[in-house]
């Protein structure tokens, strides 16, 4: 038998060899391209006899790639000429051509101007005076437009703008100059007395012919039949964010992006069209320049566009990985033209949006005393017993008068000045020669964020190189993104920063942070002093290197038929070093002030984690595009294979002599631990798409992918994912002709398709990656002894599971989109229905099998909703530009089948058929117990229940009918969940004469958080509580008869509140937030020009400035935050930014 592992090594080696060969080939190609590009002088050979001048010029244009313009109207293009030149430069050819004539020429860059030399006009001769007019053409941001054409109306003379957008032309007085550029609305300028004109072109409403990046190619928005929202770099530029995903928040209908933490370096989470699975991964597939990658490693400054692929038609070419949607990121490429250097950067300061508003010491102590007295009440003694008070009047007086300060634990933790800065330099350009052109874009980025908690920071350095070389029919592309992210955060013996913030929640304002000038150890035994923990407890440092490389080569076989080979790799190297310090604590002081030191927090330790994550991709595709009369067809066919491996190593030692040592060998070998994790998988697929349209009116598209994965059982691991879509541009029909001025564009489209989700859930990697294998592994935590020898028992830990396949998601999408009033308003309204079937769940197995629960396809769920997008864009005659675009989404989900399994409640949430995923499962509050009820012997009291406590509705019993007993059966699924049903976003931008205001509002509605201890009720195990809680709780000392308070009475034991979590503590978190507001100023081109700068923009921007929320403001809980009391709040950021382009 041939050794299988040897075979594998061979094939892996082959892979590497081929990869390296290819890289070598490309570097060779690059150097040769670069060489030929330097030889700019194009030589042409031409032999034409007795033809009109125009034809000769056309021939020169075709052969040289130069374009010509006839500048003055007295050049006779029909003059018969001859030319015979062999291997001559353009200049030589033209000189020869015009040798006999009066015509002169000028070569600037790639354009040839032809004119008759000015015969000095005599003063006053003729009716019209010829003026020399110079000027500049820019876009609305003042960026110069290169190659805009300026034509004198009614004549043949004209010119084009140079690389700086400058032009100069001779034109008769009172004539009209037509300034135009593709994609922009033409502008007419009347020649009067001016010598210099500044022309600003505004983009034509591009909604229709906008090019949208889709799976493996591009399409025009006009004829697209799938659901894709593209966000351009402009949107990202308007919002200085530290993460591309954060910049996308609120921009795309149907996409929920949640920033649940403001900790530096934390990425938001994203879901497209709802959460489609109970157990499997729900994150979309992210593709960066064709290679799967991570959004957090790409600088927003490098992004050209982001396409969010939402429906099956858009996604099905990604087959088994597309069920959660796909995000395609395209980075900036170089453009032909002069090299441009640009800088963009900002500096900003940040502070938390909200800090949990804890009650001050006086209020806390007063409420605590009241609660203590109330807790002591019994049915026989209903009087408040003042001896139960814990805090004395003297203490209260001191706090009230300010003699003793109230401790602000949370404020102390979040006391640092937060700081953010980002700097990017981009060098882009392109040159073209006879048959070769090179475009290149190189950028450097630096991002730094320093958090509001000590020791929290994030730094990212990145370099990106995008090159493209065209050489005849070959085009090769080369993309390299290198980045290095460093994250720092405190850690401590109680855990990471999350645990430290959680521990803050247990500190009370009545306990000082320091006593005897030393750290107070007031915190309960398991938390100690979290302020000190953050400061001195240790640090966790993460260093992540990422390289994303894409090398591709395309060949145009014939016109419209291209074949392309892509080879890519995404490599990450992660290292984390978490050192937990040992700390000495002052636990007592004697009369002389001598301190007793105690180590309360255990030995120090260092934990190191490193991993390498590698993803290879190879792809071959064939593209064909052709029009036959009114029939247009586009086809892409391709194959792809990918290989992924993950290799992690963990090690830990304890008992270092010093806290400063973080090299493992400095710690004690005793009790050191180490472990590793290694898995790999491969996927292989063939994909295709056929587009057909008739006259761009009736549109059809078919997509498919056949995917094979190593994650499923051989023989069952190939599957087919098709999708179909069609569109009808009603507005192109003749019967719509009369409506055209208003309803300029209207397209109906629909799609249906099936996608897969290969992110199989599992308790361990092997179950996840090799379910079809019997896995032999160690029996967890146990050994066995024969004689005196210890053995590590190894046995079958996972039976082969050939029973399951990947989850399937069927998506139906219906939409109407288009624009009104010739693009003044664009709109899109869509409905989607996403059904996940064959949902993967753990299925129990009878003991008799001997194995443990296994993964199988059982459940199903459904996400459906509406998406609405509206855009408005107008420039008034007096130069005010106004644009706004908004989106609104309603979506909801429902579990439709759990395979008959009755899933237990997880805390206050439970997954049940007929209810949304993770819906809250709670007791029903039935008001507050009154004193009369308490004293009435007929009332069945819950254990520990006093008046002012909540009453619980008896809604059911073991047999489904109310049984007079409050038990777990009385919990009810509220149908409310923490996933918003409504999402909305609104961007606006108003500018005038370079000044502008841009902003973004974002919101979510109909979602809830269960806020129990510290918020809904206080003093939970001695925890802190908010002032709002104290004020809104039933307080017998204030008004004994007021049983209508928002919250039940405060209690130091909280038995009823803890034991019967009810809907009383469910808080609606609906919010609208001003995510971003920016004031900007584009320095006028005139000023820039003098500084030899193309464009300068300065801006002042604020993020998360203002929030309206259904949550009581006084709680200090950010509606977006993941963990209300123990999370890192979001931050408000004020930034000052500068963009310069040379």
């Amino acid at each position: 038998m041939k050794n299988k592992s040897q075979e594998k090594i061979n094939s892996t080696m082959k892979y590497f060899v081929s990869f390296r060969l290819l890289a070598l080939l490309f570097s060779f190609l690059f150097s040769s391209f670069a060489f030929s590009a330097v030889a700019q002088d194009v030589k042409i050979t031409l032999s034409i006899k007795d033809k009109p001048l125009m034809e000769v010029l056309n021939a020169i244009e075709a052969k040289s790639g130069y374009s010509y313009l006839v500048r003055s109207n007295d050049v006779n293009l029909n003059e018969i000429v001859s030319i015979d030149a062999e291997n001559k430069s353009v200049r030589e050819v033209l000189t020869q051509l015009f040798k006999q004539s009066q015509i002169d020429f000028e070569i600037k860059g790639k354009s040839i101007s032809i004119f008759k030399p000015q015969t000095k006009q005599k003063e006053g001769s003729g009716n019209q005076q010829i003026r020399k007019i110079s000027g500049v053409v820019t876009d609305k941001n003042g960026e110069p437009i290169i190659g805009a054409s300026i034509i004198v109306k009614g004549s043949k003379s004209g010119t084009i703008t140079n690389k700086d957008g400058q032009f100069s032309i001779d034109a008769p007085d009172q004539s009209v100059l037509i300034v135009s550029y593709i994609g922009y609305t033409s502008v007419n300028v009347v020649v009067e007395n001016q010598k210099r004109v500044v022309v600003k072109l505004t983009e034509t409403l591009k909604a229709l012919d906008e090019v949208v990046v889709v799976a493996f190619g591009t399409q025009t928005k006009q004829t697209m039949t799938s659901s894709v929202t593209q966000v351009s770099s402009k949107v990202l530029e308007n919002r200085p964010t530290t993460n591309v995903l954060a910049g996308l928040q609120g921009q795309v209908a149907g996409v929920n992006i949640t920033q649940s933490s403001g900790q530096p370096g934390q990425s938001p989470s994203i879901s497209i069209r709802g959460i489609g699975s109970l157990n499997s991964g729900t994150a979309p597939l992210v593709i960066i320049d064709g290679i799967p990658g991570s959004l957090s490693m790409v600088s927003a400054d490098d992004v050209e566009s982001v396409s969010v692929l939402k429906d099956a038609a858009a996604c099905s070419m990604y087959g088994a990985r597309a069920a959660n949607g796909v995000v395609l990121v395209t980075t900036k490429k170089g453009k032909l033209g002069k090299m441009s250097v640009s800088y963009s950067g900002y500096v900003g300061s940040q502070k938390p949006t909200e800090l949990f508003q804890e009650a001050n010491a006086y209020n806390y102590a007063t409420a605590y005393n009241t609660a203590k007295m109330a807790d002591a009440i019994t049915s026989t003694n209903t009087n408040y017993d003042p001896t139960k008070k814990v805090f004395t009047q003297a203490q209260l007086d001191d706090w009230k008068s300010g003699k003793v300060a109230s401790a602000d634990w949370r404020g102390s933790l979040f006391s640092e000045n937060g700081f953010t800065q980002s700097h990017s330099v981009n060098i882009a350009g392109g040159v073209s020669g006879d048959k070769v052109s090179i475009k290149n874009n190189l950028s450097f980025n630096y991002l730094q964020q320093k958090g509001n908690v000590v020791n929290t920071d994030y730094k990212r350095y990145s370099v990106r190189e995008n090159g493209e070389v065209r050489w005849g029919k070959f085009t090769s592309g080369f993309t390299v993104g290198l980045s290095n992210a460093k994250t720092g955060a405190p850690t401590s013996f109680i855990g990471d920063l999350g645990s430290i913030i959680g521990a803050i929640n247990r500190q009370r304002s009545v306990d000082p942070i320091k006593i005897w000038d030393d750290w107070n150890t007031a915190g309960t035994k398991d938390t100690r002093n979290p302020v000190r923990q953050a400061l001195e407890g240790g640090t966790s440092k993460t260093n992540l290197y990422n390289a994303l490389v894409n090398i591709n080569l395309a060949y145009e076989i014939t016109s419209g038929l291209t074949v392309k080979f892509t080879n890519g790799v995404n490599y990450s190297n992660y290292a984390n070093d978490a050192f937990i310090n040992s700390l000495e604590w002052v636990t007592a002081h004697d009369a002389s002030g001598k301190a007793t030191m105690t180590d309360l927090t255990g030995p120090n330790s260092d934990t190191r984690t490193t991993y390498q994550d590698i993803h290879y991709l190879q792809q071959l595709d064939v593209n064909y595009r052709k029009s036959f009369g009114k029939h247009n067809i586009a086809v892409i066919l391709g194959g792809q294979q990918e290989y992924h491996s993950y290799n992690e190593l963990d090690a830990r030692r304890t008992n270092f002599i010093l806290n400063t040592s973080s090299s493992l060998q400095l710690g004690s070998a005793d009790g050191s631990t180490n472990s590793s994790t290694f898995y790999d998988w491969g996927i292989m697929g063939a994909f295709g798409r056929v587009n057909y349209d008739f006259n761009k009116k009736y549109l059809f598209e078919v997509n498919f992918r056949e995917d094979g994965s190593s994650r499923l059982s051989p023989g069952k691991n190939w599957d087919f994912f098709p999708s179909f879509s069609a569109g009808w541009r009603i507005s192109e029909e003749s019967f719509m002709e009369t409506l055209k001025p208003v309803l300029s564009e209207m397209k109906l489209r629909a799609s249906y398709g099936v996608l897969g989700n290969q992110n199989i859930p599992g308790a361990n990697n092997n179950q996840y990656y090799y379910p079809y294998q019997a896995i032999i592994g160690p029996v967890a935590y146990t050994y066995y002894t024969f004689g005196s020898n210890l053995y590590n028992p190894m046995t079958i830990t996972q039976s082969p599971n050939n029973t399951f396949t990947w989850e399937k998601t069927a998506l139906t999408d219906i939409a109407v989109d288009g624009n009104l009033w010739k693009g003044l308003v664009s709109y899109s309204l869509g409905y989607f229905n996403k059904k996940t079937t064959d949902m993967l769940m753990l299925t129990n197995v009878a003991s008799v099998n001997g194995g443990s629960a296994f993964v199988s396809n059982v459940g199903s769920m459904r996400n459906y909703g509406f998406e609405f997008e509206l855009g408005f864009n107008k420039t008034t005659s007096n130069g005010i530009t106004f644009s706004a675009n908004g989106n609104l989404t309603y979506m909801t989900n429902k579990l439709t089948d759990l395979g008959g399994q009755d899933l237990a409640a997880a805390g206050v949430q439970r997954n049940m058929v007929g209810y949304p995923l993770g819906a809250y499962y709670l007791y029903q509050n039935d008001g507050l117990l009154t004193k009369e009820e308490f004293q009435n012997s007929a009332t069945k009291l819950l254990k520990g229940q006093k008046w002012g406590d909540q009453k619980i509705k008896d809604v059911s019993g073991p047999n489904g009918i109310p049984d007079g007993v409050i038990s777990a059966d009385d919990r009810v699924n509220t149908g409310k969940s923490s996933t918003p049903k409504w999402l909305f976003g609104l961007n606006f931008d108003v500018s005038y004469k370079g000044f502008g205001i841009a902003g973004m509002l974002q919101g979510a509605a109909d979602y809830y958080k269960y806020l129990g201890g510290s918020v809904g009720y206080g003093f939970n195990s001695g925890y802190s509580t908010t002032q709002w809680t104290i004020e809104n709780s039933y307080n017998p000392l204030v008004d004994e008869s007021n049983y209508n308070s928002r919250l039940p009475r405060l209690s130091t034991t909280n038995t009823i509140n803890n034991n019967y979590p009810s809907d009383k503590f469910l808080f609606n978190c609906t919010y609208v937030r001003l995510k971003n507001l920016q004031f900007y100023y584009n320095i006028p081109t005139e000023v820039c020009g003098k500084l030899k700068i193309n464009n300068i923009k300065i801006y002042f921007s604020g993020q998360n400035l203002f929030t309206l929320s259904a949550l009581p403001k006084a709680l200090g809980v950010d509606p977006e935050i993941g963990n209300a009391t123990g999370g890192y709040p979001l931050v408000k950021i004020a930034t000052l930014g500068l963009n310069i382009k040379f």
Binding site: Q641, Y679, N766, T785, F786, G787, L790, N792, P793, N849
Partner: protein, 537 residues
């Protein structure tokens, strides 16, 4: 076909294809594992481990079986034995700890044994050694089935590794069929197994001892006697001179002590430790998951060799004086000096051991178990609460074989002298007078009590109650503990304040129509419809 077309399309262009049939890289698969002797030994260790022969907490739980008998009381409502003893357990009830149904009905050990047997032949190694290992695994599988049979009656007989879903259609065999399977397997392996092996591994003697135990349970007295005698005739086993020291970690390397241990589960602290703290006294960090009852205290004879009710010298007010030495070796009682203090479970003084304290983790009967729990000076780790002890659990001990032999002969009513001699061997070692009775009825009574006290807290009482059909009597009614009283904390002298013993917990109920057979866990019946429930559940 589809796949082939795509693969050939891809391979035309790619230099090599990604292999979609991958082997796990951080675990072994059955394809790659069975290549060396070391792998086989490691897998063998796993079969041993998962057979759960040990007695300790969540590691076989054998000692806890006595909580389901008249020997002991379990106070914890999250531990299965407390419900099982009360008669309030149901097939659906799940316990957080010591869930004996799910520990003993579980087939993980059997699957591991089957897996071993299905794969071991792939390995090239010494054939003789391989045959012995296979015999060991067959023994372990037989042990597992024997325990299932003794608790549940007939169960599904699985002799291969099942695919998911295969178990759904496999019905239970009868009790007799399982017993026959077990005995046949043991008969086969006895001839293969060696006389001596590394401590902890199965020997010929262990196989014979299990065979005798099962035969006795099945009331096949003829073969039980033959197999017990066969163990005796191996001439490798003998009783250890000191009864108490058999159960101490300190003496585990004494060759004389090891002659008594036919099979034991060994530990290797601190990496692999036995969990003894559930049984230790509270001030030592223990939490009393097993409290001896008054019933077992009364079962110990007086030092005159008579039952307390038969001995006129027995003074009910000095109940702990002049008793069977095994009483002092097995039970901590009020007034005894224990770890340099006077054990006082009658009053709320000193280290809080008071039976009526509101504190948990204390003996509710007023007695604690001393077997397996030496005083701290004799406990190598010195800290039972740290779970770093290495005390073995003896699965078969020579004394049991002798008593099995005696009982089997007595029940056949033949060779009663040999039977008495076997009992007397056990009694003599314990320091008890020899028996004078010669008739079957008297000897039957004697051997049954001898078994109870000799093997107390070793997890065999429940099977004995079942065999003798006495649970209806001994498991119905209240559980008694000490009498209320006072202790002179200088002398340890007890003064009783009440003639009546305290009762502990709820009244036990035992339904003889159903409780001798434990219920098959309902969740398994729900998942595998071919399983049928035991009568009455």
């Amino acid at each position: 076909m589809k796949k082939i077309i795509i693969l050939s399309f891809l391979s035309m262009f790619f230099f090599s294809c990604v292999d979609l049939e991958r082997e796990p890289v951080d675990a072994y698969s059955s394809m790659t594992y069975f290549v060396s002797r070391d792998a086989v030994v490691s897998n063998l260790a796993a079969v041993y481990q998962s057979t759960q022969m040990s007695g300790f907490f969540e590691d076989g739980n054998t000692i806890f079986m006595d909580d389901v008998s008249d020997n002991a009381y379990n106070q914890f409502p999250n531990q299965g034995p407390s419900y099982m003893a009360l008669g309030t357990a149901t097939a659906s009830k799940k316990f957080d700890y010591v869930d004996l149904y799910r520990t003993y009905f579980k087939y993980a050990g059997i699957r591991n044994a089957n897996f071993f047997l299905e794969n071991v032949d792939n390995v090239k190694m010494d054939q003789n050694e391989k045959d012995i290992m296979k015999a060991e695994v067959r023994f372990l599988r037989a042990f597992n089935y024997a325990r299932k049979m003794m608790c549940f009656g007939g169960v599904p007989l699985i002799t291969k590794v099942l695919d998911y879903g295969e178990e759904k259609t496999i019905p239970r065999k009868t009790e007799a069929e399982i017993a026959a399977f077990v005995l046949n397997e043991l008969k086969d392996v006895v001839s293969i197994l060696p006389l001596k092996q590394d401590k902890g591994r199965i020997t010929k003697g262990a196989a014979l001892a299990l065979k005798a135990r099962v035969e006795l349970f099945e009331k096949d007295y003829v073969n039980a006697a033959i197999d017990a005698k066969a163990v005796m005739d191996l001439n490798v086993y003998d009783l250890y001179s000191n009864y108490e020291h058999i159960f101490w970690e300190k003496f585990q390397n004494d060759p004389a002590r090891n002659k008594e241990a036919i099979l034991e589960v060994c530990y290797n602290p601190p990496t692999y430790s036995s969990t003894i703290d559930p049984f230790y006294t509270n001030p030592e960090g223990g939490w009393i998951s097993l409290a001896p009852t008054q019933s077992v205290v009364d079962a110990y004879e007086t030092s005159n060799g008579l039952a307390i009710q038969d001995d006129p010298t027995y003074n009910p007010d000095k109940p702990y004086a002049n008793r069977d030495p095994r009483f002092y070796a097995s039970i901590i009682y009020p007034g005894v000096t224990w770890n340099d203090r006077i054990f006082n479970s009658l009053e709320p003084v000193g280290p809080d051991e008071f039976y009526n304290s509101s504190k948990g983790n204390l003996s509710r009967t007023g007695y604690c178990m001393r077997k397996f729990c030496p005083q701290l000076v004799d406990e190598p780790s010195g800290d039972p609460s740290a779970e770093i002890d290495g005390v073995s659990f003896i699965v078969f001990r020579y004394a049991e074989v002798l008593l099995t032999y005696a009982e089997a002969l007595i029940e056949q009513n033949k060779d009663l002298t040999l039977a008495a001699a076997a009992i007397n061997k056990v009694r003599t070692r314990a320091g008890m007078p020899i028996l004078t009775e010669t008739d079957q009825v008297s000897l039957r009574k004697r051997v049954r009590n001898e078994r109870r006290v000799e093997l107390a807290f070793e997890g065999l009482r429940w099977y004995d109650m079942k065999r003798w059909n006495i649970a209806g009597t001994v498991m119905n009614g209240p559980v008694y503990g000490v009498r209320p009283g006072k202790i002179d904390m200088n002398t340890g002298v007890v003064t009783w304040t009440s003639p009546n013993h305290i009762t502990v917990g709820d009244v036990r109920v035992f339904d003889v129509k159903k409780d001798y057979y434990w219920p098959i866990p309902q969740e398994d019946i729900d998942l595998a419809p071919a399983l049928t429930q035991n009568p009455g559940w």
